[in-house]
Assembly symmetry: C2
Homo-oligomer: 121 residues x 2
Amino acid sequence: MNKNMTYEEYVEKVQKGIFTDEGNCPVISLLLMLQGKWKFQIIYELCIKNPMRFGELKKAIEGITNTMLTNSLRELEADGLVSRIQFNEIPPHVEYSLTEKGNALLPIFYEMTMWGLQYIP
Amino acid sequence: MNKNMTYEEYVEKVQKGIFTDEGNCPVISLLLMLQGKWKFQIIYELCIKNPMRFGELKKAIEGITNTMLTNSLRELEADGLVSRIQFNEIPPHVEYSLTEKGNALLPIFYEMTMWGLQYIP
DNA sequence: CCGTATCCTATATGATACTG
DNA sequence: CAGTATCATATAGGATACGG
């Protein structure tokens, strides 16, 4: 598939049903990566401050539990959006940051925000 | 909030934490609207063919049940992404189509697809 | 400091049968 | 044709206590 595809070419392909195949649909893949109550907030916090430690994230994201923060971070890591660096010191010290792949989501969030400003009251 | 905000202005605001407030974050709102196993596929089918009838959608989306198709359509309708027109004939006849708000999601899906082509193997 | 383990509840999804 | 009703299951999310 062409990585330089223009928007017009994209629309044309959509209407021909090119992306119908579930397993290979990039939109579905990405929506799955962002699915979950806390995923986007974590990414968002890492946009504001990068890197962040586990405790900082927990403090920044109101209401999240240890369990959910850990699970969400592990999944984001598995999807390659977030990286984890562990410093073997006493006391323990871990840093989470956005990968290039994760940072590249920002233009999408921009489009989503523009859409929201126009259509969400 | 400025509807003509450039991408650079957006990034600057993100880093200042402008969009942190959950309730008003357009990205979270939109992600919630697209959450669920079938939502995107329904929108996608309506991009290919518009309008579509209940039975057509059911046939096009492999594995979806009556219950899930109905629930998903009702939620998409409540969010203003899809409109439902009922023709009072015998046999019954219902047409679903994308609203302007729903159609305006296409640039977002384009960005997501571009991202996917670059970062998903 | 940064988690894990365990248990519990809530929500999402699914199967099946039936109806205006 | 386009659903609804009912019941069952699967997955997501949460509370609490404890450990390297």
